[in-house]
């Protein structure tokens, strides 16, 4: 019995470690200054998928990412950790996609992948923090969803049991497969790279990456089919162009501003006893405290 798991992953700029040069003088984001990383919660999702692969005989884990060609990096990263294969969905047609157009494109790609039993992805990506793509993909595929998953506890007889972590509690829910599950950052961290797999998949590449490398590798990619990362463009998936990219995006960005806080005139104090005492007296006198 096959059991096909698709992990949706995104390569994102590392917004958590934003340095001073992250913003350009004109207020736009300096993407070059932000390293591209594997979206953290997508790694949590990958771990849940890999755990199922160990439990379920014949299970496979495929990674699907939409982004520029360099997003193949996160596919290789997934292969090093135990995924079986990957797909990069890339092309001009997808440019300017908001979450809805992204979900549409991903759902078309998933349909093309054939029988899928489970789709897992991170709850949200750190560059947008919207948490929308998972549920929107589920709706586009007509599948139910379980969001905020902390642990996939069991998959048995076509049913999946999931523990969810919500802001004020936990829930254990059960539903029928196929299903979309979005995974929280509170879930188990992803296992590190496996040394043997890292060696095995080191040269895994998309067709366009293989072209760039030229003929150096001879017939490596035809001899070792597992090194081929699938690369799909809009023409490879069955789609209606009006739902892709900018035209498929109902939300428009009206304006972007960099954040500037108005500075106040601060009173500077030292740690001297009399200065702290005067401050406390003042706060009491003006009824801020007490």
């Amino acid at each position: 019995m096959s059991f096909n798991i698709v992990v949706l992953a995104k390569q994102v700029p590392d917004t958590r470690n934003v340095g001073k040069d992250a913003m350009k003088a004109d207020g736009t984001v300096n993407r070059a200054a932000l390293p591209a990383i594997f979206n953290p919660e997508d790694l949590n999702a990958l771990e849940q998928a890999l755990r199922l692969k160990e439990k379920i005989e014949g299970a496979t884990v495929s990674i699907l990412t939409m982004g520029p060609a360099r997003a193949a990096e996160i596919i290789r990263e997934s292969l090093y950790r135990g995924a079986d294969n990957g797909y990069v969905l890339s092309g001009r047609e997808f440019a300017g996609s908001d979450t809805l157009a992204t979900s549409y494109a991903l759902s078309c790609a998933i349909r093309k992948m054939g029988k899928v039993d489970l789709i897992v992805c991170g709850r949200q990506a750190i560059d947008g923090d919207t948490a929308q793509v998972g549920p929107q993909v589920a709706e586009k595929l007509g599948l139910p969803q379980i969001t905020y998953a902390e642990e996939i506890q069991d998959v048995k007889d076509g049913k999946i049991t999931v523990k969810r972590r919500l802001e004020r509690g936990v829930e254990v829910v059960k539903g029928s497969l196929p299903m979309v599950v979005t995974v929280n950052g509170s879930a188990a961290p992803c296992r590190p790279r496996h040394a043997k797999l890292t060696i095995k998949y080191k040269r895994a590449a998309t067709p366009s990456e293989q072209q760039e490398k030229g003929a150096d590798y001879g017939n490596l990619y035809s001899a070792c089919s597992y090194l081929n990362i699938n690369e799909w463009g809009a023409s490879d998936i069955e789609h209606d162009a009006q739902w892709l990219g900018l035209t498929g995006s109902p939300t428009k960005v009206k304006q972007i501003e960099s954040v500037v806080f108005t500075a106040k005139e601060s009173k500077r104090l030292s740690t001297a006893d009399n200065e702290i005492e005067d401050l406390m007296k003042e706060l009491i006198a003006n009824h801020t405290i007490g």
Binding site: V29, Q132, V259, S266
Partner: protein
């Protein structure tokens, strides 16, 4: 028709604060647009919802009262909203940026092909010019939200699709009663007309919900610690000060991530937004994400051994020193001088 809808989150018959905050915002937007404010409650035994929400200026309350609608699961609530929205054609739909709203909102927006903006920090009404199409739109909802880890603020609009949908985190908008005697109308919905039996596919096996132990939103005084506090022992000093002053302890994301404080104490864009009378920032450097969640505090004191910490620029008082030196003195001189 073309009114503003707010989805109400209900736990044990009580409407959540986040929903009441959205009703407050929704009321003022409805006044600006000269339309009605409507609310939708889905759950079981909802008899007391009306008296909870009408004072916030709700004109129409839709009740989907059905045992199967509680606790919340995705598909039944999605179908209810999708079908009700197809029928009522609201121009704006608002919901909390909670684990419910962020589960439900995207699904509804995907089904209706209407844009959704998550985690808005401000909602305004304004016009939008599409230069390429040579078209101007009036009275659109400006959905204003931070992006890129808080480094930019984007204003998003949905020119052509309705409803214009947005989620807002708890505590971001103010909760304000419009009129204790406000009269609205209640409409009971026949749930089976909106929700199909096949929507009930998720079974909730276990459920443990806790009342939040920490109430940062309504604390008049907040003593907040950052990574710079350094150790759990030093963090205890913050609790002591908060205790003496009658306040609550908050934390920056860095302090939460390093395990110095619980997630429910986090202040900032990914935590709670606060507006206390007094905010004492201890060892907090002042990342944009944090400042965005506390800048409206009436008075800000920053205690930091780095005289150039970014947070100092928005502080009323800057004490250059360490937490272990300053806080005991604050406690001592507060006790000495208060009656």
């Amino acid at each position: 028709m073309n009114n503003i809808f707010v989805y109400l989150e209900i736990e044990d018959g009580i409407v959540g604060d986040v929903s009441l905050e959205l009703l407050t915002k929704g009321r003022s937007l409805a006044d600006q647009l000269n339309c009605k404010l409507e609310a939708i409650a889905a759950g079981y035994q909802l008899d007391s919802v009306g008296k909870q929400v009408f004072p916030f200026g709700v004109d129409t309350l839709y009740l989907a009262d059905d045992k199967r609608m509680a606790p919340y699961t995705s598909l039944p609530h999605t179908s209810l909203l999708v079908n009700l929205f197809k029928e009522q054609k609201p121009q704006i739909a608002l919901m909390g940026a909670t684990s419910i709203g962020r589960d439900l909102g995207p699904r509804v927006s995907s089904a209706l092909f209407s844009g959704l903006t998550a985690d808005c920090t401000s909602l305004e009404i304004g016009s939008y010019e599409d230069k390429k199409a040579g078209k101007t739109y009036e009275n659109l909802l400006y959905q204003i939200r931070p992006a890129f880890g808080g480094n930019i603020v984007a204003t998003i609009v949905n020119p052509d699709c309705r409803p214009q949908m947005a989620t807002v985190r708890e505590g971001v908008m103010k909760k304000e009663i419009k009129d204790a005697n406000y009269k609205g109308e209640t409409k009971k919905l026949d749930v089976s007309k909106y929700v199909s039996d096949t929507d009930f596919v998720i079974e909730v096996i276990e459920r443990h919900m806790e009342k939040s132990k920490v109430d940062l939103k309504s604390a008049p005084i907040i003593v907040a610690g950052g990574y710079g506090v350094g150790s759990p022992e030093n963090f205890k000093l913050l609790y002591e000060l908060a205790d003496v002053l009658g306040g609550e302890v908050g934390a920056s994301r860095a302090a939460v991530d390093s395990g110095l404080a619980d997630h429910e104490r986090q202040i900032g864009q990914t935590g709670t937004t606060v507006r206390p009378k007094l905010y004492i920032a201890c060892g907090i450097s002042g990342q944009i994400q944090h400042i965005a969640g506390m800048q409206e505090s009436s008075m800000i004191i920053s205690i930091n051994n780095d005289p150039n910490a970014p947070i100092n620029t928005i502080a009323d008082y800057v004490i250059t020193g360490t937490v272990e030196e300053v806080i005991p003195k604050m406690i001592k001189y507060y006790k000495k001088n208060s009656k």
